[in-house]
Amino acid sequence: MNDATLGTASKVTTRLGFLTLAVGVVFLAYALFISPPEISQADSVRLFYIHVPAAIVSLYLAFGVTAVGSAIYLWKGSQFWDLVAWASAEIGVLFCAFTLVTGMLWGRPTWGVYWTWDARLTSTAITFILFLGYLAVRRLDMPADVRSRRAAVLGIISFLNVIIVRYSVAWWRSLHQGATLNPADIQIDDSMLFSFFLGAVFESLVFAWLLIHRFRIGWLETQLESAGIDAAIEERRAEGAQ
């Protein structure tokens, strides 16, 4: 039972929230001030501390959870996993946008242009649109269980698509070996690695915190819907009893 004034928060999420904030402060300190600028990329390398973890959290963690949740929903019909899949996809799209924006901002000083048709950036853009499509299906106006079932099928296929798109674009770009600075070529020291690590921890915590809240909103929405239906049935019964 929850106090209405708390909304979707609970003891667990409050603690998780404070932990996330604390890690966030340390992360910012390391990412922006303590770690040194990189030799060839100067300070723009700092964008990577957000970019790389965001890509991993979005493409593999968030969309992976969507695929697994969708599969469990189709298998067991559990509403819990259906809502988890939805919440995870929405947050995944958000992190995907972070990946794209930080990637483009990194590309500008490094390559001189915002967009270079780099394999990873391009496939991330396609993935972003794939999951916007998933979110669009979740908004379709149809019976909830039909929509959930269709969304679950789409969630699984879209995750497979992420993998297919990623490999095919990488292969396509490898045919046109251009003058691209490979992100893996960065000169790395320990405080930079630590910044990456903190970024990954921070963004995973943010993901978890957002996921719980977003899930609970979906949960409350379905409760509201079914409460409305129950109330309507009660009303009919009362009418019938008269």
């Binding site: 708390l6 909304g7 922006l32 700092r46 965001a54 000083p109 943010v206 909103i217 409460a227």
Partner: protein, 46 residues
Amino acid sequence: MSNGWQYVVPGYGFVFAVLGAYSFWLIRRGKQLAKQVPEERRRFLD
């Protein structure tokens, strides 16, 4: 090559601003919904 701060600041600014706005929206929407949902249904699985 420029030092890159003019790209780093908007990048971090964008990410944290969007995260803040989204979190704010989530919490507000959660509170709105919690008020509407009858108490016996306002139960989370934690």
